[in-house]
């Protein structure tokens, strides 16, 4: 077969192959040929993962329960595991917020990430020192929040979406004291309008003060020059998304630790 290669000179590539070869010999170039180096690695990985999936699928059967019965609701009724983090947030937020607004923020937040992050360092290699805050934020949001909520939703939620530790029996008659109160109520607001205004002030204050605090912290840590380079649009978007993420944690603590349900109560939306 050795002479076959020479018998095919009629491939027209406009000299691109030759140019690539010339470039490859330039100084400081650590490039290697995709064939065979990368293709071989991919093929070995392909075979190994395929073999693993085959063995796994031979050993573990995919679940199949009783036929669908629209009149028999299981308790608890759980979404697929990758959405259980969102279902868990339903405990703390209204469905429109937990199911629509927050997922939208997550997706949009991920999309704008490369446009917000103007740090030129840490491009193309693992490092922690150069991008401490970026990594901590992503790690906190992705691993701690997202994964922990999925674990809670999968293993610790039983009938009535009540909390059951792994050693507890799923008792569908578990008695749970409904002692939740809204934050305005806790502060003595009994009037409808006043309590809505108080809630609005707390939520609005959180975002205004939070943005101010973040501005102050970033200027202190990175200097005014950085803030000017970063720009108000990037800072505003980043702090809004970050404050929303922290708000989820705050709601979680307020509900689990202090039995506070809503912070803002209006006839249309509750937060």
């Amino acid at each position: 077969m050795a002479d076959v290669g020479k018998a095919a000179p009629q491939v027209s590539d406009g000299g691109r192959v030759e140019k690539t070869l010339l470039r490859a010999k330039g100084p400081g170039d650590d490039k290697i040929h995709t064939w065979p180096h990368l293709v071989r690695a991919e093929f070995i990985c392909f075979l190994a993962v395929l073999a693993f999936m085959l063995v796994w699928s031979l050993l573990v059967d995919a679940p199949l329960e009783q036929p669908a019965a629209p009149t028999r609701t299981p308790n608890p009724s759980k979404a697929p595991w990758y959405f259980l983090g969102l279902q868990e947030i339903l405990v703390f937020f209204d469905p429109w917020h937990a199911g629509v607004v927050l997922p939208s923020f997550i997706i949009v937040g991920l999309m704008v990430l490369p446009y917000i992050d103007i740090n030129p360092k840490g491009n193309g290699y693992f490092c922690y020192a150069d991008r401490k805050w970026e990594i901590l934020t992503f790690f906190g949001g992705f691993h701690v929040l997202w994964i922990v909520l999925i674990v809670v939703g999968t293993f610790l939620r039983g009938p009535g979406w009540n909390w059951f530790w792994p050693w507890e029996v799923w008792d569908s008659h578990k008695v749970v004291a409904m002692s939740n109160v809204d934050l305005p109520y806790l502060f003595g607001f009994r009037d409808y309008t006043l309590s809505a205004l108080f809630g609005l002030a707390v939520v609005g204050g959180y975002f205004v003060l939070g943005t101010g605090l973040m501005y102050w912290l970033i200027v202190r840590a990175k200097g005014r020059e950085f803030m000017e380079r970063w720009g108000m649009a990037r800072f505003g978007l980043a702090s809004f998304l970050f404050l929303n993420m922290i708000a989820v944690v705050i709601k979680l603590i307020m509900r689990m630790g202090f039995n506070i349900k809503y912070i803002m109560v209006t006839p249309w939306i509750n937060i």
Binding site: A24, T34, L38, V49, P114
Partner: protein
């Protein structure tokens, strides 16, 4: 020259052979480039990569594994489509038929389901690796955006597939998931400001997904078409864009 070698020579030097296979197996630098640039599948790679770009420690292989999981679900999914009818009366029975009567039916279903789950995990790990190596930074910002859309599509593919077995697990899990849609502000009948938009239980965002006010036979057909045609098509298109961008921008790596 023996008779067999003569025949082989005639075949590989024929215009037909040479129109299909443009180069041989010579181990020359030129041929190594041709191996990639002259092959429509391998062409998605750049012809040369940075040395660190093939290290397991750097890539974790997760992008490739995600794509492999997509391929496994496509192949096994097409097999399943031969035996599965997206009709409420038959869907569950067809699952049992696959399980007990079809050669390799259960294996194909298992592979399809576990590969889908593995794909979700692999996408997350891939994104985590890309984040940790800062590979979304210029010039790869747009490819990160395409990747985020692919993450959403991966979840939607998994979610729409969840309903198809038509068992208790699937309809109730999808009920829970889709109930979010009726809480969409303005577009869902239980969401805020629904009264301004004039939506109701049979005419809102959830009804669009369900094909009616409740989960039912229409939902099954809708999810089947979304799962087998719409989302795979969109995903394939975006995968091409994703790979093509990697090919253009090169694998990420430290500056030389």
């Amino acid at each position: 020259m023996s008779k067999w070698e003569e025949i082989k020579k005639q075949i590989v030097e024929s215009p037909v052979w040479q129109s299909i296979f443009r180069h041989g197996y010579d181990d020359t630098p030129r041929n190594r480039v041709l191996m990639v640039s002259g092959n429509v599948w391998l062409h998605l790679h750049p012809s040369k990569v940075r040395r660190h770009g093939i290290r397991l420690k750097f890539t974790w292989c997760m992008g490739g594994i995600t794509f492999l999981m997509f391929l496994i679900t496509v192949v096994t999914g097409v097999y399943l489509m031969f035996y599965y009818r997206p009709v409420a009366e038959y869907a569950y029975a067809d699952m049992k038929y696959l399980e007990f009567d079809m050669p390799f039916g259960m294996l194909m279903r298992n592979m399809h389901r576990w590969a889908a789950h593995a794909m979700v995990i692999a996408v997350w790990l891939h994104m985590f690796r890309v984040f940790m190596t800062g590979s979304y930074k210029p010039p790869r910002e747009f490819n990160w955006v395409v990747g985020v859309i692919l993450l959403v599509l991966t979840l939607l593919l998994s979610f729409t597939g969840y309903l198809l077995p038509w068992d208790q697990l699937s309809i109730w899990a999808v009920t829970v998931g889709s109930n979010m849609a009726r809480a969409t502000p303005l577009l869902g009948h239980e969401g805020p400001f629904a009264e301004f938009a004039g939506v109701n239980a049979v005419y809102d965002a959830r009804a669009l997904i369900f094909g009616g006010g409740e989960i039912g036979p229409h939902t099954l057909l809708r999810f089947y078409i979304l799962h087998c045609i719409f989302f795979p098509l969109v995903t394939t298109l975006l995968l091409i864009v994703h790979f093509w961008r990697i090919r253009r921008d090169g694998l990420s790596g430290p500056a030389l």
